[in-house]
Symmetry: C2
Subunit: 383 residues, 2 copies
C-alpha cells in the first residue's frame, strides 16, 4: 500500500467555541486597531448577531461594509478593498458564513497588493502578507473560519476560483452555535452536504497507510450520517453544535495531511454554481454521486472501506454501488436533490466542460484522470 | 446527556512531518538567533540525529547542553537556565523525546523569570512569556512536541509535577519517523501504552454529546489496538510513522476540547515513577486497569462504548470487565507488565498515598471522586 507522504501542518487560528462567545471579540481585537466589520445581506441584523458584535466593539473603532453576497463577487469585494486602503484599516472582522469569510480573505490579501485582486485567483500573485482577519461564524459548512482557503466569483466572467495562503488564516474564529437557531432547513442541509463532501474529497481517493487520516475522516463521515439520521432533532442545541464542530474539522486541513485529495466534485460544482446559480451544497450533492458512479473502479478500495466503516455494510451488501446508494440516501434524507433536472435545469454539458477547460481544469481528481471527456460523462450522469 | 462545554482551542505549532525533515531546521530558525541545542544522554550521537542537526545548523550560532535525563530534573535544567541567561540565548532547540522537550519548556519559561523555577511547577508563577522553542522529536509518546504541557521532577524531594502555558508551545515540531529505527522495543511499547492512556484519560470519563471528540478518540484508540496487533511489524516504516502521528494527536488537546478529563492514572503514575523509578509508560499500564476496575460503575457507559467501538465486543461479551480485559491484553501483547510486583517492587501503598496528599492530589479524576482512600484501593489492585 502507498505510504502517506511528508507534510507540513500549521493552523494558528484560535478557536473560541460555545454559547455566548461573540462577546469575547472585545478582547480578541486590540483597541488600537482600525477595524473593517464586513458582513453579508443583513440576516445578522435580524438574528441578533449584529447587536452582539457592535456591543462587543463599543470601545473599538470600526467601519461597516455590508452586502457580501453568496459566492462572493470580486466586484463587490473590490469596494471593500478600496475602503481598507483609503481608511488605513488594519484588522478585518468577518461576520457570516463561508462566503463572507472567504470574501474577507480576498479583501485582506488584495488590500496589500498593488495590482488587480483577480491576479490572486489566477495564481499570478502569491499572497505572502494580508491584513489580519478575525471570523465570527454564523453558518457552519465551509471550515473557512480556520483555514487558509478562499473561493471567489468574478461576476463579469462567471468564473468561480480558489486561492489559499498561510497569510489569510483568521487570527481567531468565534463559533457560537446558538446563532444557528435562525438558519433555514435548506442552510442546515447544505451545511451537512458540504461537510460530507469536504471529507469525502480527502478520503475517497486511493488507499494509503494513513491511519489517523482515515480514522478521523471516517469519524466525521459517521457524524454526518448520524446527524442526517437525527434530522428531526436539527433544532436542538446538541445537533447544531455538533454540526458546527464537525464542519470545521472537515476542512481545517488535518484529515488531508500527506494523503491524496480529489476536489473534482468541487471544481465541477463551482462551474454549476457560476452558470446556473445553484447553492454550493446543492451542486456537491449532484456531482459527487455521479462522479463516484463514473469512477467506481478507480475508487473501489476506499468506497468499500467507507461502506464498511461509515455505513456498516457487510457481506453481499458491501459493494461500491451500495455505498454510493447510501450517500445518495443520506442527501435525500435531508431533502437535497440529486440531479440538475430536479431543479428544472436543462444543463448544457458542453458549456460546462468548456468552462472547466477555460479554467485549466483538464486533469481533475487525485490521479488527474478526469479529463474533459470524463467530466462530460460525469455531467451526463448528473443531468 | 451532558452537552460538551465551551472551549478555546489554539495550537500554533508548525508540524513538519516526514523522512529527511531534520534538515529543514536550517530554515525554520532564523540565523540571527543564539540557539541553545538541548538534548539527552547522547543516543542522538549514535543514531545520526546529532550529525543531521549540527549539519543543518552550520550557518547558525549555537551552544550545546546535553545530559537531560528521563523524567527531567529541575536540578539539571537549572544549569541550562543559567546558560540561557548568561549567554543571551534567544531560541531553544530541543532534540529528543518527551523528557527533553518538557525540560526545554521549563528552561524556556524559567529563563524569563527572576525567582526559582520550581515556582512554575507549584503554580505560584504563571508563565506568560518564554524563550521560543523548536522541537525535533526522536521518541514518540508524549505529544509534547506540539502542546503546552511539561512534567518536571525535583530530585531533591522526589516530586514529579506538571505545568502548562500557551507560551511554551514549540514554534515548530520536526517529526522525522526514520529516527525511530534505533529505538528499543521497550521504548516503542512505552510509546504505545502512553498514547493509549493519554487518549483514554480524555475518553473514559462520563458521556457527553461530543461527537467529534469521541469519534477522534476512538480512531486513535483503534490505531493503537491495530499497531499492537501488528507488533511483529514494528520495525517497518509504516508502523513507526503511524505510531508517531497517532501519539502526537493523542495529546495535542484536540480530542479533549469541551469534554471531561480524568488524568488520575497519570497523577498516580507520576508518584510511582518518582518513588520507584519505573518508566512513565510502565506506570500507566499498571495504574489504568486497576483504576478502571475500581471505578467500573462510574465509568460504565464509556467503558461499554469503548468495548463496542474500539474492541468490537458485542452481546454478552460487551461488559465493563471484558473491555478492561482487552486493555490489559493489549498492554501484555507488547510485553508490558501490569503489576508492581512483576517488576519486583513491594510498594508501600501508604507512602504513595502520602505523596499524593502532599501534592494536593486528594480529589482526582473527572469528578474528583478519587480521594486518598480510593487511591489506596487502586494501588492495592496494582500491587
Amino acid at each position: 500500500m502507498t505510504t502517506f507522504s511528508n507534510f507540513t501542518y500549521y493552523n494558528p487560528t484560535r478557536i473560541v467555541f460555545g454559547s455566548g462567545t461573540i462577546a469575547s471579540i472585545e478582547k480578541l481585537i486590540h483597541t488600537d486597531k482600525k477595524i473593517l466589520f464586513i458582513y453579508g445581506g443583513g440576516s445578522i441584523k435580524t438574528n441578533g448577531v449584529y447587536a452582539q458584535v457592535t456591543e462587543a466593539l463599543k470601545g473599538h473603532t470600526f467601519t461597516e461594509f455590508s452586502g457580501v453576497e453568496a459566492n462572493p463577487h470580486k466586484e463587490t469585494l473590490d469596494k471593500a478593498v478600496a475602503v481598507v486602503k483609503n481608511e488605513g484599516i488594519d484588522f478585518i472582522l468577518a461576520v457570516g458564513g463561508g462566503s463572507v469569510i472567504d470574501g474577507a480573505k480576498y479583501v485582506a490579501a488584495a488590500a496589500l497588493y498593488d495590482g488587480d485582486g483577480w491576479d490572486i485567483l489566477e495564481w499570478k500573485h502569491t499572497v505572502k502578507k494580508a491584513v489580519p482577519i478575525g471570523a465570527v461564524l454564523t453558518l457552519p459548512a465551509t471550515g473557512s473560519e480556520s483555514n487558509g482557503g478562499s473561493v471567489i466569483t468574478r461576476a463579469e466572467t462567471q468564473e468561480k476560483r480558489f486561492f489559499k495562503s498561510e497569510a489569510v488564516y483568521p487570527v481567531f474564529a468565534v463559533m457560537d452555535y446558538t446563532v444557528m437557531t435562525t438558519l433555514s432547513d435548506r442552510q442546515l442541509a447544505n451545511g451537512l452536504v458540504d461537510t460530507f463532501v469536504h471529507t469525502a474529497e480527502q478520503y475517497l481517493t486511493y488507499p494509503t497507510d494513513g491511519m489517523v487520516q482515515d480514522g478521523y475522516a471516517e469519524a466525521l463521515l459517521r457524524n454526518i450520517a448520524a446527524l442526517a439520521k437525527d434530522w428531526e432533532n436539527r433544532r436542538t442545541e446538541s445537533w447544531q453544535k455538533n454540526l458546527m464542530w464537525t464542519s470545521n474539522q472537515a476542512l481545517n486541513e488535518l484529515i488531508g495531511v500527506g494523503v491524496p485529495q480529489d476536489w473534482a466534485t468541487h471544481m465541477i460544482g463551482h462551474e454549476l454554481t457560476a452558470i446556473y446559480g445553484l447553492d454550493h451544497g446543492q451542486t456537491l450533492a449532484i456531482v459527487l454521486p455521479a462522479l463516484l458512479r463514473q469512477l467506481r473502479l478507480q475508487k473501489s478500495k476506499k468506497l468499500l472501506k467507507m461502506g464498511r466503516n461509515v455505513f456498516g455494510l457487510e457481506g453481499a451488501d458491501l459493494t461500491e454501488d451500495k455505498t454510493i446508494d447510501k450517500i445518495e440516501a443520506l442527501f435525500r434524507s435531508v431533502d437535497v436533490k440529486l440531479t440538475l433536472s430536479e431543479y428544472g435545469i436543462k444543463a448544457d454539458v458542453d458549456a460546462v466542460v468548456t468552462a472547466l477547460k477555460g479554467h485549466g481544469m483538464t486533469a481533475l481528481g487525485e490521479t488527474g484522470s478526469i479529463t474533459p471527456d470524463v467530466a462530460a460523462c460525469i455531467l451526463q450522469r448528473a443531468l
